[in-house]
Structure formats: C-alpha cells, structure tokens
Symmetry: C2
Subunit: 302 residues, 2 copies
C-alpha cells in the first residue's frame, strides 16, 4: 500500500477536492423515513448504517475522505461500534479514505493498543486516526510507528477549533512560544527518523482548526511537510476567506472537514425533518458537498 500522504494527495488531485465530510450520526436529525421506531439496539445500528451509506453515496464524488467522529458511535455501545465497522468498510469501497476522529491518547503501552485498534488489522482500522498529544512523545510514538508499519496516517491535535482551545494550547511557555508551537516541535522531532513521501508530505499531520487562521499561518511554516486536517469549516463560524493560509503554494497540503452543514443540509431553512424523505435528503447532501468542494477550491486556488 502506498504511503498515506501520497494516497491522500493523489485522491485530492484526481477528485479536484480537499473536502472531508464528517460522519456524526445524530438520530434525532435523521430523515423521518430513517428514524427507528424505538431508538435502541439493532434498530439504531441499522438506522445509522442506512444514514451513513446514504451520505457516502451522495458525497463520494466530491470528497476525498470521511471523518467518523467516534463519540457518536460509542454513545450506542457495541451497536454503535458495529455500525461504525460497516461505515468504515462501505466508505473505503466507495473510494473514500477514512479518518477516525478518535482523539485517542494514553501512556505508551496503551497507545500501542489504540494504534492497533485504529491503524492495525482489526474491524475498526481506518486510513488515519486523530491523536491528542498531551501525554508527550511516548503517547505519540506508538501511533507514528504503527502508521509507518501499516502505511496509514495520524493527525496530532495542535490547535483545535473550539473557543476555549487557547486555555491550554495558547499558554505562553518560558521560551516565549505557546504550547501549540511546542506540540508542533514534538511532531517534527518524532518524525525526524522518517522520510516524507514522494509528494513531500509525511504520513503524520496536524489538526489546526479553521477558526484560527493566524496560528495556522505560523503552523503551516513550522510544519512544512505535515498535511493539515482543518475542522470547524462551516458550522463553527470560521471565516472562509482566511482559509488560504492553510494550504501550500500549490493549493495542496491541507484537507478541510465539514460535518453538519453537509450531512444535515436538508434541515436548513424551513425544511421539516419529519417530512424530509431520503430522496430529498440525498439531493440536499449532494448539492451541499458539491458547493463545499467548489468553495474550498475557490479559496485554495483563488
């Protein structure tokens, strides 16, 4: 299997897209015809599978990857995880990469188990996983090693998109640099034993929220060989016109996630979810994905 960065960038060129679609299933928002009669057990599992397959069918032409958010599956326990297993395999069969947005982290021997879970050979294995760096190198390295071994990817949280991310990540350290820069330094240090892929990018990248373009400009420079995974585009009120700083000079090197603005696009305006059927939802989702892709292309090539 080719290097993860190469696979992602090649897919991006082929589809002329940097769009990642977040798969955050929320059954209270499903079209009426998909709503389970009783929101539990096998009915929920089947509803999530049907919803995600509908989304995947309609975004596959416009997105490079899907990003299932683990929390929305774990909330239903083993049934939710079973639905996720189906989603991972259906997305891959549909020509999409899968980024497991798990934000996992732990001490070394536990991180090894998480890396095996998300980048190994088990039923939840994705193309890449997001990882929290708070525990330092020995919580990060097992993901890097497993990704290298299995030709998968990893994205470390550096500057997250939420309003209070600065409470820890922006703290000025005694070197004068904020915590998020120190995290970027740790990523570079832990990748120094590896070679970037033939396209110039490492298999390990960084999560930098769309809501922080000022920090992104600096991080783009500090991490010239890391693909940026950019959440917060759309729903989290990022200023789209400032997103160009996340890309390299060729308009590449970053992928941008949108979740609710696409997968629940049929709920916007005065539409009523009770009346939304799958056909109408499909049309809305496809149109929203196409629009998001085009908007991002205008930004990076603009």
């Amino acid at each position: 299997m080719a290097d993860f960065a190469n696979r992602l960038l090649e897919k991006s060129r082929k589809k002329n897209s940097v769009l990642v679609v977040g798969l955050d299933p929320d059954i209270s928002k499903f079209p009426g015809s998909l709503l389970p009669a009783r929101p539990e057990g096998e009915q929920v599992q089947e509803a999530i599978i049907r919803f995600n397959r509908m989304v995947i069918d309609n975004i596959a032409g416009y997105a490079v990857a899907v990003k299932p958010q683990l929390a929305f599956y774990e909330v239903f326990g083993s049934r939710g995880i079973k639905a996720l297993e189906d989603t991972v395999s259906y997305a891959r069969d549909s020509g999409l990469l899968v980024i497991a947005d798990a934000k996992r982290n732990d001490v070394g021997f536990v991180s090894e188990a998480y890396a095996e879970a998300f980048l190994g050979k088990g039923p939840l294995s994705a193309d890449a996983v997001t990882v929290n760096p708070f525990l330092g190198s020995d919580g990060m390295v097992p993901f890097i090693e497993k990704a290298a071994e299995e030709s998968r990817g990893v994205f470390f949280l550096v500057k997250t998109s939420n309003p209070s991310s600065g409470e820890i990540q922006d703290l000025a350290t005694d070197s004068g640099r904020p915590v998020y820069e120190r995290v970027a330094g740790l990523i570079n240090k832990n990748l120094s034993a590896y070679e970037p892929g033939s396209e110039g990018y490492y298999f390990a990248g960084a999560v930098v929220g769309a809501t922080y373009p000022r920090e992104a400009r600096l991080l783009r420079e500090m991490l010239p060989q890391c693909i940026l995974l950019v959440p917060g585009f759309g729903a989290q009120n990022a200023d789209a016109s400032r997103l160009s700083v996340y890309f390299d000079r060729e308009g590449s090197g970053a992928v941008v996630n949108s979740s609710r603005n696409i997968i629940y696009s049929y709920l916007s305006g005065d539409r009523d979810k009770e009346k939304a059927d799958e056909e109408e939802a499909s049309r809305c989702i496809e149109r929203a994905a196409e629009e998001a892709r085009n908007r991002l292309n205008a930004i990076r090539f603009g």
Copy 2:
C-alpha cells in the same frame, strides 16, 4: 443515587481499601484454559468476558473499583465493546465502582456525546470516566455537567504517569507555573459553581501518576477537594514509600490503580501461562489484590 465522591469514599471505608484494579485484557496473557482457539470474533468476546469475570470475582473483596482501559476493548471492535458492556455490569453487580479509563476529549458538542456515552444511560455507562483537558473548558464542562446530572464522576488528566508526560505537562508558562498547575486551576474554576459532597470531595477529581510524588504533593494542596486517581503503582516503577503525599490527613482522598501486577500475577516468576489454569490464576490474583490493598493501607496509615 448518592454523590459519586461519597459513594467512592464510603466504599473505601467499608472495604478498608483504596485499591483500584485495572482491567486491561490481553489475550496473549490469558491462562491456557481461557485462550480462544481462534483469536477473533465471538471467541475473543467470550474469552475477555470470562477472564474479566474471574478477575472481578477474585478482587471484589479487596478493591473499591475496577478501571477498564478502553483501548484493550476497542482493539477488537464491536466484539470487544460488547465484552466491556458485560464487564461493566458484572463489576457493578459485584459491588465495585467502574471507572472507564477512556481519556476522551473533544470540542463541546462532541464531548457532550462522549459524556452521554460514559456517564449517561447507555450500555457503556460507568460510574466515572477519565478525560483529557487539552481542549480547555469547553471540552471539560460537558463531562462535569453530565456527571453532576447523573451522580457520576470524572477524573481529569493533570500529571500522567508516563516518562515523557513532562514534555507538555511540565512546560513552564509565563506565570512561572507549569502547564499541569494551569490544568488544576481550570478544574477548580470549572467546579466553582458546584458544591463538594458531604464528605468534602467533589464528584470531579484528577489523575496524578504514582511516578511523580513531588508534583503530587503540590497538586494535593491545589486540589484539596478533588479525589486523586493514581495510576502507575506497581508496574510503572513508582516508589511506593513516597505515595503518602497523595492522601489527605485521614489517609483518604485518593485511590490507587494497579493493573498488570494483579491481573497477570500468575505470570510472574517462573510460572508458565500455558500451564496456568483458572484455579491457579484465581488464587494468584486474589493474593496479589490482598497484598496490594494491605501495602497501600500501610502507606496511607503508616
């Protein structure tokens, strides 16, 4: 349901113990008679359930809680999570509290889903969950709110037990204080709207590794109303004689986790796991739990 801190402290008094036993199932270490013929699917699920039930039966008299480590279940996908669901319910039926060692974290609306998963009414709901604070207050507060609502607990990572935890957590900030102190400050700030339970402790506590007693002494003072969850006792080479600083003056206010030294105690010395049967393993596990409890009692009352 009574406040989480009260429940934990009452159980601790009743059992005369501050021991938490980590449930990190590793099928390669299971006694021969529990090893699945094929390490996949339903066989793995059943082997984990049987192993954990055996451990729970033998430690229930000596421990206040079990701490399943999510990674070791996720690695088997929905089958592993199904085994975890059984373990959570079996442990509770055996009079043990369950601390889900998940180290979850995300932006606000996703943290809400994680809080619902681990502290709500679903199949993975535990008595408490561990949470990574790297995203700041809006990733932390949903866990606090859900714990308050459901009389559950949450433990925020403050200073983790692993060797490289200092790379981020010890960074000196411009106020002269390290990041872990700033995290402790965030915990206090986000708890200020709540009252501690009648025993003087909040339902939200802090993870402070047994390997860092110097930092623990300070954190014990900074977080006088937070129960400390202390991993790294035993396997991670903590100096047991220095653990007294984690407790309050009554020898309370902290619980200490041991995982492999107890649940795989039958593998120590020249014992051969192939030959270890469940009966022998049971005896070893019970003895190791009793010894760990007594050792911790000697430290906190010593």
